[in-house]
């Protein structure tokens, strides 16, 4: 079942065919309806904040809320989509037919990942554009109303907003890889989804343990927390929202380091998923 040398070389074409089919499924199963929900939430919230008349800090509210909604809906979409697009292949036994073809399991699983990742890319791109559009139109009208509140011109760094969108995309990629790994050995869809949400919470909150135990605890405990910090990716590092809407701006070096962090985790977790799936009996 594994990588034993055979006459069939690894094929990027087959991987892309699987990815394309996965994307088609997402479109036809209407997974993008999530976007609609999110768009409604965003536009409604922007309208809502306007009532309070915060002036220029209203923009920060919109931006924070928008990125928050993107993280919430995006995480849900990531787990739901990965479970639907990968695990249901095993559950519905469609994996039986495809894995009986001359295809490497590695091609299959990375094809699935790439398909899911493309879905998440479309989601993040559209959400970021929508958010940028909302912010821009509101910023224009605020600038016209209170020119004195914008002494240095625009407050929002739109380039940074795009960078944030991309970082969220990479973070969802890490989450998709985690879900894929869980699905590769799990027996039910519910287990896959619940475990993945559990992992999501751990990855978001592990910095708390880090911060608390780093000072107080004894050495072995401190080492354990350190170790866990390496095993579970820290999703807090992707949260650079504060810099976007306060005019501080993102440091390109930081963005690149965070992107590298995500890609490293995707590679390692994806590799583990391949290893675990290779020996799975279908």
């Amino acid at each position: 079942m594994g990588m034993t040398t055979g006459g069939v070389p690894f094929s990027l074409t087959r991987l892309l065919i699987v990815a394309g089919n996965t994307f088609t499924e997402a479109v036809r199963q209407k997974l993008f309806n999530f976007l609609l929900l999110l768009a409604v939430a965003l536009v409604a919230s922007a309208q809502f904040f306007r009532e309070f008349n915060f002036g220029s800090s209203e923009l920060k509210f919109i931006s924070d809320f928008g990125l928050g909604a993107m993280v919430f809906f995006g995480s849900t979409l990531t787990i739901a989509a990965t479970a639907q697009l990968f695990f249901s292949e095993i559950e519905n036994r469609t994996a039986l037919t495809i894995l009986a073809k001359p295809i490497w399991r590695t091609e299959f699983i990375f094809g699935k990942f790439l398909g899911v990742f493309a879905v998440l890319g479309v989601f993040c791109a559209l959400t970021t554009l929508l958010l940028a559009g909302l912010l821009c139109s509101r910023e224009n009208s605020l600038m016209a109303l209170h020119p004195d509140a914008f002494p240095g011109g625009r407050i929002i760094h739109y380039g940074d907003l795009m960078a944030m969108g991309m970082l969220q995309w990479l973070k969802f990629g890490v989450l998709a890889a985690i879900t894929l790994l869980i699905a590769s050995f799990s027996n039910t869809n519910l287990y896959t989804v619940v475990m993945s949400f559990f992992m999501l919470v751990i990855c978001h909150l592990q910095y708390l343990a880090h911060d608390t135990y780093a000072q107080v605890a004894s050495l072995p405990l401190r080492l354990l927390v350190r170790l866990l910090g390496y095993v579970f990716p820290n999703f807090q590092v992707f949260n650079l929202a504060d810099q976007v809407a306060t005019g501080v701006g993102l440091d390109a070096g930081v963005v690149l380091r965070v992107a590298g962090y995500a890609l490293a985790y995707i590679a390692v977790i994806g590799g583990l998923a391949v290893y675990s799936f290779r020996n799975r009996e279908i």
Binding site: M1, G2, T4, G6, G7, V8, R14, I17, V18, N21, T24, E25, R28, Q29, N92, R93, T94, L96, T97, I98, L99, A100, K101, P102, I103, W104, N279, E281, I282
Partner: protein, 291 residues
């Protein structure tokens, strides 16, 4: 022809498969010490009651399951290696396919996975869909297909890359009698092209019609294997079918036979078989695949 004299498509040696049932290490033995070889160019029937290990054996041949003990080779290549599946087409039992694709898209997807060259792709997809009689429904979503139509589209995807070995796990389950007869015809056509076919089915009449050789499994063990003609043929008997005879003529015939040392063992009224009646009455153009 003994299997060792002719080339072998599938070679199974000492195969045992256990499934762990629970954490206390209790196991279920689905296949036990099975040794079997399927000669190339023949139609081979794998028979046995429910749960006797037919599908498990097939999944091991395809590398979907790992044998607990023993080995299995397809055209000399150990199962489990990707290249052992290069020349194999497989129809799973009770198949289920991507609901969101149309019949054509589905077959096209599998054809591309199997590396059918782009310029022959569309023709080939159309051709196999025609063969299985689904042209009329090819543009519909697979999710709307009936059970028999799913079997047919499954057959199309198994054949699309023109494999040398075709493995069909209960291809006629849920297919109407006309469709079953067509699948039998298709199998014989494949055999005429020199393909090897491994088929499981509970329709023994059909197996008898298409298979050269059969093996019977019972609770995971091989209990009988042999050529169909040797197993069920009655060489010392013949049947004549004639127009109705009057009693006098029958007596005359009996006397004529007796004078030559033969006995008339039975006089029966042959009945048309129900499936033949069905096939002759139901028009072929109205079967499940058409609009």
């Amino acid at each position: 022809m003994t299997p060792s004299a002719s080339p072998v498509a599938i070679e199974i040696r000492g195969l045992t498969k256990d499934f762990p049932l629970n954490l206390r290490g209790i196991k279920l033995r689905a296949v036990e010490n099975l040794t079997l070889s399927v000669p190339e160019g023949r139609v081979f029937g794998l028979l046995g009651p429910n749960g006797s290990g037919k599908s498990t054996t097939i999944k091991i041949i395809l590398g979907l399951l790992e044998p607990t003990v023993g080995e299995c080779r397809v055209f000399g290549v150990p199962s489990g290696r990707v290249d052992s599946r290069l020349n194999v087409g497989y129809l799973p039992e009770a198949p289920y396919f991507y609901r969101y694709l149309s019949g054509t898209e589905l077959v096209r997807f599998y054809a591309r996975i199997c590396g059918v060259p782009r310029k022959r792709l569309d023709d080939r997809v159309k051709e196999v869909i025609d063969w299985v009689g689904l042209s009329g429904a090819a543009q519909r979503r697979v999710g709307t297909y009936s059970k028999g139509m799913l079997q047919r589209i499954g057959l199309a995807q198994a054949l699309v890359h023109d494999p040398r070995l075709i493995i069909l796990d209960e291809p006629t389950a849920g297919v109407d009698p006309v469709g079953s007869a067509e699948i039998s015809e298709l199998i014989l056509k494949l055999k005429a092209q020199g393909k090897t076919v491994l088929i499981t089915s509970h329709l023994l009449a059909q197996i008898e019609d298409v298979c050269d050789r059969v093996a019977i499994l019972d609770r995971g063990k091989l209990i009988l294997e042999g050529d169909v003609n040797e197993l069920v043929g009655q060489r010392d008997r013949q049947a004549l079918i004639v127009d109705p005879l009057s009693p006098e003529h029958l007596d005359e015939l009996r006397g004529w036979l007796a004078s030559r040392g033969h006995a008339l063992n039975a006089v029966e009224q042959p009945r048309a078989r129900l499936d033949q009646l069905f096939i002759s009455r139901v028009s072929r153009s109205e079967k499940g695949g058409q609009k």
